[in-house]
Symmetry: C2
Amino acid sequence: MTPFFQTFQDEKLAPQLSGSRSRVTYLVTADSPDEIRRKAEDICAEQTVEFPVDLLPPGVVREQILGRVENISPCENLFSPPGMVSAHVEVSFADEVMTDELPQVLNVIFGNISIKPGIRVLSAAFSEPLLRKFPGPQFGVPGLRNLLKIPQRPILFTALKPQGLAADDLAALAYEFACGGVDVIKDDHGIANPVYAPFYDRVLACTAAVRRANAETGENAIYVPNIMGPHTEIIRRAKFAKDAGAGGYLVCPGLIGFDVIREIAQNPELSLPIFMHPAFLGSFAINPDGISHACVFGQLARLAGADATIFPNFGGRFSFSRAECLQIAEACREPMGDFPSIFPCPAGGMKVDRVEDVLGAFGKDVMLLIGGGLFSHSPNLRENCRLLRSRLV
Amino acid sequence: MTPFFQTFQDEKLAPQLSGSRSRVTYLVTADSPDEIRRKAEDICAEQTVEFPVDLLPPGVVREQILGRVENISPCENLFSPPGMVSAHVEVSFADEVMTDELPQVLNVIFGNISIKPGIRVLSAAFSEPLLRKFPGPQFGVPGLRNLLKIPQRPILFTALKPQGLAADDLAALAYEFACGGVDVIKDDHGIANPVYAPFYDRVLACTAAVRRANAETGENAIYVPNIMGPHTEIIRRAKFAKDAGAGGYLVCPGLIGFDVIREIAQNPELSLPIFMHPAFLGSFAINPDGISHACVFGQLARLAGADATIFPNFGGRFSFSRAECLQIAEACREPMGDFPSIFPCPAGGMKVDRVEDVLGAFGKDVMLLIGGGLFSHSPNLRENCRLLRSRLV
């Protein structure tokens, strides 16, 4: 038999590596600085060779394919148990290990180590060559403002619900919202293709309703359907929605994969803004072991190509802190290759009387997603929308 | 305008509901029994209508579309902070809210509430009508045993690595493994489509290598490629692998969506066993707020249609406890409609000398996934495989 070590052929591998590396910063918690170092080295192996490092021969695999600890900086960690220490651990990975396929990029960042305790992804800094392999957000803040013809003011965003309404009843609601001055009207993330409001019927009814309202108001509201569905049906639904006159797509990457966003962003036939929804992604952010709010809802959304990212706002019915929400917003606009800024869409239990507070926190480049709050302010839905819209200046 | 409440039309909705409901049990933690009750009711609303319940008119939406608290049983919870109380909260959801599409089933179980603290999915009990909407595992334990022609003994499973080897070098390894008596040889989950071992080249090389070994040994080893890739490429890769003579598919649903498994299981052109890998799913299981090991790696794997589920074994380099691993194994074989049992595949830092312990825990219907351990036992890889295989009786 061929001894195992002879199978490594540096002369074949080396020419295929560019030397370009992307960096991921982890918050690592352990019971001693030595253990932090051991965990950092474990991340390097687990996320790349997944092999006992002492069995690797010297050479290119060890030097370049294996992750590399770039920096370890001890830090405070309010959430770590007593007696434990924490550090920011920066690890670099060869772009060729990340490849030009998004699922593998996510896999290198956090695939197997999602199963190991004491590790949280804080942020990812992708190399310029790696970013150029991905389409990025096709609209972003400037493109969405252009499409909506809203040069400056904050954007009013709502959702069609509750679950149980028929397609034409949801369309009637969409019409009311659009007449009331709501700019972006999306499907609820829980309404995908139920028998009582099937996708194709709903998209036809809601696009028609918003078109009719726009003709009456002279505004440019858009309807954003939830295109979640069976694996091979998603792109078909997106195409149907685009042809019917929808103004964007709602995508839940936690349920159907981040690469759906990349696929849509890259496909010229589907060219419409993408709104990312956080369903099924909460466990990454709200637990200590996971991925930071800013990374999962900001950096990864943008890398995938989302133009707007929905997340539960502070002070609503969810638990994100003000700081965590502002970190997401910061990740939406921080420099990232040639990618445009994208819209943060704070949501979840928003009330009309909180508008000024929220705008004060996020600034004008924001989409305020208000659902139930539009109904509860007064019995007149259209007037509630108008009131809210009047405050967005 | 149409007042909002008039849009509810029970006579339209009621005939579309079967009355069949599926149940999910959550571990809910809060600071008082009253707060547990409030959280239980919040789950009911958040996962269905996502709307202020006091604004819902009496009728079908409130009675059937809204989730329903079926039971609350106070319980111990070793992981809850001091002063908090916990309970098992059973909630039922109409099958029509879950629909016949897998992403929406997952969405109803844990979509938005993944973002709320103090909630862990313990188990899901799907109604028989709901289970009949899904193909389920097409092979399971009996089908895989039949394919491998191994009626009774535990199955030996390994992975091709490390990352950095070329396609033909990985194929040479596959040949060694197969000659050494390994039954199932999968790609490493981190090797999807790197420049140094591209998917199509690798699949051709590895299928040929395993075929050659089988011709020599008279055994029936299979090669299981990692079909992860861009959204619209995954099914194409599966088809290519099947045509090339692969023996199964490795799928990471955390990275590309659980519905990829369902799609493959339902597509007769792709008929081969599916091996589910836990990459990127760890945060659900290892944190308090998430989804139990048994549910995410057992019940959801089986619902999707996986035939074998890989998870990090106790005592290896990951952190799952013996109890958690055995709960996964139990979920692989507990009654679930007409679905067959599937194989638990304990993995991760397994060593040759732990075989008896592991078999004692899991019994014979198990696939032992051993990677690095096969290399480290002695320098002779083929002999290491033979030694291990000889212990699997």
